[in-house]
Symmetry: C5
Subunit: 325 residues, 5 copies
């Protein structure tokens, strides 16, 4: 599905342009134009990107590819080609998923294309555009910034969720280390790795857009890309911190399990050390030797109970003294 | 709450200027002026920053935001926008908290703003200003340096506390590895991570202020920012050391627990290895076979006791030889 | 075996040139020529590379060497010498193997040489060349790009296999940590290390080909090498992620085994703690003291069973309360 | 205590100059002068550094501070301010301690100052100066080099000690992992961290002194600072190696303890597995059932002993086959 | 012992020059000369290096020093001073040892010096020189390259040995984790660390020799130093891989030991869980209560055996269901 909007030099807003009209705007360089391809099929993609805009085959290939593309900026003199990623929780196991957005910024046009349907950052900016015409007047680079800004703003709550979960898991690891906790820690680790894979090159994209001298990016708008860059630095910072905590949570898991094992073994050792000697003694007086004088004593039985109790108390006192319970 | 001070070219100190007066000083570039916004509400913030000083919307947004902002310097030709953080122990679990301070340095003014009430570095410099007029004569950049210097001076005791605690924990880990020790180590790790997140970009801020050529920072004052930079290098150094020790404390915990487990298991094994054979032997002479010649012997019972004792002593000697106790 | 193709300036395609013909084309710089040495013996190699093309002895030595050569670009004014590696699963233990391909790019010729027989990227391009003549018209640098592109395209499925296997192993580690799982994790680690050893310098090769100013690489074709570079960045990214997961899989293995040990020890402790006291008690009433009043009681035996059952239930309740089962 | 020496242009050596004389030498830039402040009190420090040499307040502050200062070079046009550290074993726990030395190098003077009394590198150079006049003729920068060289030469034996100790500990960890070994490993780790904290910035100081163009450092003397730099690279190298070994010693400790635990548990399991079934069997024939035919057999008792022995031997054979002992 | 060779401009080869002759060749800059000092005593060293060639005292000091010197190139306008290291297995514990070689390259001379006797790379080149006169005609820089090339060629088999051993150890760790395996892993780690300490700066030396513009190194010979550089990159690559495997071997050791412990504990738990209840039951019917109806039953004894067997089978079935054996 293709959506398009054209802001003419007369200040008129035209919508849903035909391909011919787009081609005409393009050749006359008249006004500002934004074309968005929402989940396009191959035919539509080629008709727009190849036949109308004449973009480079490699860029079009990147738009078609369903595999993961590293975020990047390619500078084709005439236009900039930008690949960025939105993040959203996937359908299962809380795994984060990335949705690729491809942007072409030319002198007076912005073309965005995504194989994911109805990307919320694009929709939000699309709607804001209809509410507030001033947005488009600031140029196609500013619209592009607005989309990227929305996209990066959606990262933060995801990271906050991750941070909250890892702090929860850290407590769980200390108080009750279960395999399920381990599983959740690993899932978190996968998410953090996925995040880092996206954020780090995306940050580099924003850095280049805010620093390098591209004719498509107005100088007064570069500070806005710098602002996104700062956001991404913050996000990467936080994700580094979370990653550190995830790592130490794995170590802690081991320490906590080991500690627990110590408790268990102490319990076993205490019980064994108390009852094995007692059982031995009981066994002794269960022997059938003919000549065992103690057996004949009147006070033999109470006496042996005294020995039992004294032995047990002695052991208990010994363990307590060593701080075992 | 807004506080302001104006040092006129006639050497007069005016205080608590009205917004109109501030605007007038600003347009006439007369004298030196410091305005501090202490925990301002949104209305006050906008009135001062947007309507009086006409700062860039992105900077004002940063001042309004309650979330964590990475320390940075933004250069808006007319003025520098600096974000830095003070550190202080939080209300619970000894978690360190960061308080953001935003500074705008212009040609003849300094505007500081913080959402945290009554920041001590600001207050200290404010008071020194009233005691010693020479401070303001050295320029708004020097006042800014004074505030940052106070702020960084407050880091060191916090780090010393952390170092002291980790050395204490290291001992605790060796002599008595408890889950609570693990918990405290993890809390320390969180604090160190929080510290590093603040210090490393803050250092970069100081580096830029002491190296780059900003018209708002006098050349003879740059060495003072360099001095703060050196302090931060030292602090980061120390925090790296502490972090290394925290990491090895986790490893040590595991080693110490494992060692302790070894002790426990040795105890269990010694007791079992001594008493299981004895109990077996006692069980043998507790059997009811009709024809067991030993049972009839007069010296059977004393003999078996001898065997018990010899066996037990033999085992004990064996374990001692292997260095088990 | 030598294969060669010559695209004359008249647009004719000559094949299987003699060495004399090759020498003639070379000296007249007429048309475009590709010579491929498929698994050549030393004599053939020297005849072509040394006696016909007069390449530098060090490059020829690299072509002859059967050991692993680090991917690189050597710039000999007249020509570029490129060493790259294809990857394929080895015959045993799923170990990846690398096949070296050496390329010489001159002004109007491309010489490729490999000691591995029938390398698929070379064959694919060779066949495409016969189907689509336009390929050779774009220059020898473009043919070289086509081969490298095919080569790098073959990496991705291998990495996907690795990623799939590590995720499988991660599950296996959690649910059933066996030594065999450990063995497979280590094999995976070896593969990832082999990959990284190849990819990282190969990426650098592509970077230089797309950035540096080599007369043999046309400016309009550099973006194609940049595209391969982007692919390699993506692959290295993914391999970093896999490596991180492999590392944490080893940690998880330890955690899972430790957890399992805990379960085993709890079982042992529960059984021991329940039956050791009971056995002791049974032993007590198996003693042969003459005067043991309880033995005479009518309800002695049922009573002792009640004690047995109560004791066992009490222990079970205690362990359940502590969450041991 | 202040020591001073003045080498006049007439080739005379004057000692113990008054402050006035120092001021005069300074203003006339006559000859070469070295002033050393050994453990000065605040008054003396200010009299010399502030009132006579007029150094920058920040440098003087660094000389006064008793806390740890990161090694650095500060370039104040007129003079260089250098902070370096000597190392020596501290009074307890074999902890290394650092002693700060501050050097000011001007055109014709060297001022050194240390809060640690009688620093041996300074004393050695002081004495050499009296034995060999040529030393001072080579300039104040060469004297400074001589002091730093002596200082760095004192590092090496400390590192050799550390290396020797860690190799000893590594053996101890393998053959007999005790908590005390762990304690010593941790102490070593602290020392290595302290070393690295000092060496790395100190190396940077030497790098700058040997590379940068300071008017106070003669070009022909820079190679001597380069020599110290090489020494420090070697020392840092060695300290990296030691640190790696310390890290793996911690891992080894865990592995060795774990191995030992395995031995202990095997012993326990062997004993239990042999004696528990035997004890059970003895218990069976200790039962008081009226109708137990075996009990009546003449060969019952010898037979059961055969069973005991065969069972025990069978178990032992089984464990030996599995390589348990 | 000193060996020397002089290739005159007339194409004559003179050998074993006197010091006077060397001095003459040096001052007349006539022909090419190589002097090698094999394991020289101090007197000889000073006579040649200081009194004949007049090298810088710092370089001569490096030649005299028996301690480890970091590989480096020092540029003294007149000549280059190069420190490199050969590797060879030491006399004990398979520890690798380094032998230092010092080279001075001047305009028309090469001086090599080593405290290790009869270094094989030097000897090999010395012999080749007598067989093939062309070698010396290519210049002293080429002879130096030849020596370094031989030296680096001797690294590879050592690394292959290390790689073979670590793969062997990796298997040993999985199938039979013994303390001796741990010991061998640690010895390997020491060797790898020693290797890395030598290779990394040595690579830097080659990089400088092949890139920088030294008058002593002919432009056409720089590619040969580049070739050694490529070799060293490959060696460092491989040593990185081995180091990674050594690290994970330590982790694997722990995992395998832990796994083995699990097996041992399962065996113990199975035996205990089966026999403790049985022993208890046998103990019950060994009690001497007067009124125990079961004892009187005719089928009491067979019945209790049934219970014994059913209980044991039940336990075995339970453990098998949980996959314990």
């Amino acid at each position: 599905m293709m959506r398009s909007i054209h802001y003419t030099t007369q200040g008129r807003l035209d919508k849903d342009l035909t391909l011919d009209k787009i081609g005409q705007v393009l050749s006359e360089k008249e006004g500002l134009m934004w074309v968005h391809l929402d989940c396009p099929d191959e035919q539509e993609l080629l008709a727009v990107l190849r036949d109308t805009f004449h973009f480079h085959p490699l860029s079009i290939e990147d738009c078609q590819s369903t595999g993961y593309q590293t975020p990047k900026v390619d500078d084709f003199d005439e236009y900039l080609f930008i690949v960025v990623h939105a993040l959203q929780p996937g359908p299962q196991f809380d795994r984060l998923e990335t949705n690729e957005l491809n942007c072409f910024i030319g002198e007076n046009y912005l073309v965005t294309s995504s194989l994911a349907p109805e990307m919320s950052p694009v929709n939000k900016v699309w709607n804001r555009l209809h509410l507030d015409e001033r947005l488009i007047r600031r140029g196609t680079d500013f619209i592009c910034h607005a989309i990227l800004d929305e996209m990066v703003d959606e990262y933060m709550p995801l990271l906050d969720d991750l941070e909250e979960e890892i702090e929860e898991l850290e407590d769980a690891v200390l108080t009750d280390p279960q395999l399920e906790t381990l599983q959740r820690i690993l899932a978190l680790k996968h998410n953090i790795l996925a995040l880092r894979r996206v954020i780090s090159p995306q940050r580099e994209v924003m850095n280049r857009l805010s620093r390098d001298d591209f004719p498509q990016i107005g100088h007064q708008n570069q500070i806005y890309f710098r602002d996104i860059y700062d956001h991404l630095v913050r996000i990467q910072d936080l994700s580094d911190t979370i990653r550190d905590i995830v790592s130490s949570a794995l170590d802690t898991y081991l320490s906590a399990t080991s500690n627990r094992l110590n408790q268990v073994m102490k319990a076993l050792t205490i019980v064994s050390t108390i009852f094995l000697p007692l059982t031995f003694l009981a066994g002794v007086y269960g022997m059938n030797f003919r000549h065992m004088p103690e057996l004949e004593w009147q006070i033999g039985y109470p006496l042996v109970w005294c020995v039992f109790i004294l032995l047990a108390l002695g052991m208990a006192w010994f363990f307590r003294k060593r701080g075992w319970f």
